[in-house]
Each structure stands twice: as C-alpha cells, then as structure tokens.
C-alpha cells in the first residue's frame, strides 16, 4: 500500500487537493495534507511535513509526496532527512504536477501499484491533453 502526502504553500490548497484525490478513492488510500506554515499563513513547515510523513509511514509500506513549488521540495527533502535512516527509502518525492499528479496517484495507489509505478503514471499525467486540439 502506498500513502500520499500533499505538500503545498497554502493549507487550503493542500486540503483541497487531498479532498479532490480522496473523492476518487473513497478512503482506500491514506492521504495526508501538509500545507502552509500553519492553517492561516502561506509557506511550508518542515515540522508539519515531518508529522504527515510519520502518519503516512505508519499506515503504508511506501509514501509518495506531491508538492507545489520549489521550497515545498526543499522542505520535504529536509523533513525526510529528519526521519530515521531506515524509513527514508520508503519515501519518494514526485516530479508530477500537484493536482493532476495527486489524482492519478490516488487512483493508481488504490489498485495496489508500487510507488515507482505510481510515480511513472503521475508524471505521465502532465502530458494528458487538457484542452481538445483546436479548442
């Protein structure tokens, strides 16, 4: 089982992406949001990311982390370094775009794919045409 952690600069954004992804899988995939410096302040918070990773690791074999902008990536990397060395290989940071990536990842996780398989599908998500040709 793979769990997802959503890291974004806004608590609302992270919660919203979690809500969208959960609608696809209805509780079959553990999804945790770690957005904002706190509920009301934009930014990222390594402690919040760390807590979300720990909850995700407790419920899943692997964790895929989806992120919005650059410093979310730095925050996630730093949070991973704060965890015990033996659990770090169970966590993977995704190259995928946040919204499309999270939805594809949730669906793939719900059918029992590994983190590596899920990541490949989530990255592929950014190539799906959004607007019809000529639209």
């Amino acid at each position: 089982m793979v769990a997802l952690v959503i890291v974004a600069h806004s608590a609302k954004l992270a919660e919203g992406v979690k809500e969208l992804a959960e609608q696809m899988v209805r509780g079959r995939v553990p999804i945790f949001a770690a957005g904002g410096l706190d509920e009301h302040t934009l930014g990222t918070n390594v402690d919040r990311i760390c807590q979300a990773l720990e909850m995700a690791l407790a419920q899943a074999d692997e964790v895929l982390v989806l992120m919005d902008l650059g410093s979310a990536v730095m925050g996630a990397q730093m949070a991973i370094e704060m965890l015990a060395p033996e659990v770090r290989p169970r966590i993977r940071l995704s190259q995928a775009p946040l919204v499309e990536g999270a939805i594809v990842a949730a669906v793939e996780a719900s059918i029992g794919k590994t983190a590596t398989e899920i990541e490949a599908s989530a990255v592929e998500a950014c190539r799906m045409p959004k607007v019809p040709q000529g639209g």
Partner: protein, 212 residues
C-alpha cells in the same frame, strides 16, 4: 579574545534586531521579484528563536546554532526556512561542544553552512540567490586569515564582500526560487535572500569587531 559563546548569543540577538529593523525593506525587495514575505518570514523566525534562546543560552555554541536552525525550519515559511535552517544546522554540527570560536573555527562553520545551503537549494553563483552574498564573503574571510589579518578585521572584510555580492545580484536574472518565474524581469532588483545573508554576516562583523 576569540569569539566566546556569549558573543555568539550577542550576534544572534543582533541578527533578530537587525531583521526586525529591515523587515519592511526585505519585504519590499521580495515584493518586486517574489512573494513579498521574506522580511516578515525572517522576522517571525528569529523572534521565535529569541523566545527559545533563554533555554539554550548556557549550552555550547553547536547546540545554540542547531536550535536556531530547527526553529527556522518550522517558523520561517518560505524558502528561507529550509535554506537558513540548513545553514545554521550545518554550522551547529561544526561547532558542536565548542564554547569559543577561533578564526579557523568560524571559517569551517561558515563553509559548512554555505555548503549546506548549496546542497539544499542547488543554486550556483550568478543565480541571484543568497549564495551570491555568502560565497564571496567566505572567500574574503578565508583569504584574510591566510594573510594573518586579525579576526575582527577579517570579519569586516567578510561583511564587505557580502555587501558587494549582494549588490552584484541587482543586474542578475534569477534562475532559482520564485523570482525565476519572472525571467528577464527579475533583472534590476536586488535579491532579498542575498540581502538577509549580508545583514546576518554584517551583524557578526559588528558584534565581534574586537575579536582576535
């Protein structure tokens, strides 16, 4: 006198005061090319540390700097959180169990901090980031102590090089961070991260002016 533990505490207190004074200035710089939060972020982070300082002010320098790093990663919010968090954590690793710093200790700690920032942010010189103030400052300091310049004077050279590095970010086009989304439009503005790095190093030079 070398730099004693209490001098390190005085430096960090000065950093907190200087970042508070420059809160609006840093935010204005960031408003031009970023998300207009750098001044508020750094001020919030150092204020949070000042609240914790009494509990660690009698510990070794490494513990004090690691506490600062750990506080910043959870309170700064922007890219400055992981970057300055890594900077002070790595400095703290190099100064573990130390109660005083020689010029060589400071050079090693600063170098470790800067290497941490580069590893974390993957920025290179010329990318219009804090690295553009920090790296010339480190080089100037190391050069000064190689030439047997007294500690306090070498720190002054370090601060001057940081200031020049900071000003040199003005014409640069940002290749890292939120400012990179602006592309060419980021040129003509001084980088806020390079500016806060200068202020932090200048605070060390001002606080430790008489170190030998």
């Amino acid at each position: 006198m070398p730099v004693m533990r209490d001098d390190v505490v005085a430096w960090l207190e000065r950093c907190a005061a200087v970042l508070e004074e420059n809160r609006d200035y840093l935010t204005q710089l960031d408003a031009a090319i970023g998300d207009a939060d750098h001044g508020a972020n750094m001020d919030r982070g150092f204020k949070a540390f000042m609240a914790k300082l009494p509990s660690v002010a009698d510990k070794d320098i490494g513990t004090i700097l690691k506490t600062l790093g750990m506080t910043l990663v959870a309170t700064v919010g922007g890219a400055g959180g992981p970057l300055y968090g890594t900077f002070f954590l790595q400095m703290g690793v190099k100064t573990a169990n130390k109660l005083m710093l020689t010029p060589e200790d400071w050079a090693e700690a600063l170098e470790a901090g800067i290497n941490g920032v580069i590893a974390r942010g993957q920025a290179r010189p010329g990318d219009k980031t804090m690295v553009d103030a920090l790296l010339p400052a480190l080089e100037a300091f190391k050069e000064s102590i190689r030439n047997s310049t007294p500690f306090g004077k070498a720190l002054q050279r370090m601060a001057e090089a940081a200031e020049q590095g900071m000003k040199a970010t003005i014409p640069m086009v940002a290749r890292k961070g939120r400012a990179s989304y602006l592309g060419e439009r980021s040129a003509g503005h001084q980088d806020p991260g390079a500016t806060s790095s200068y202020l932090i190093l200048k605070a060390a030079a001002d606080t430790w002016a008489n170190a030998t």
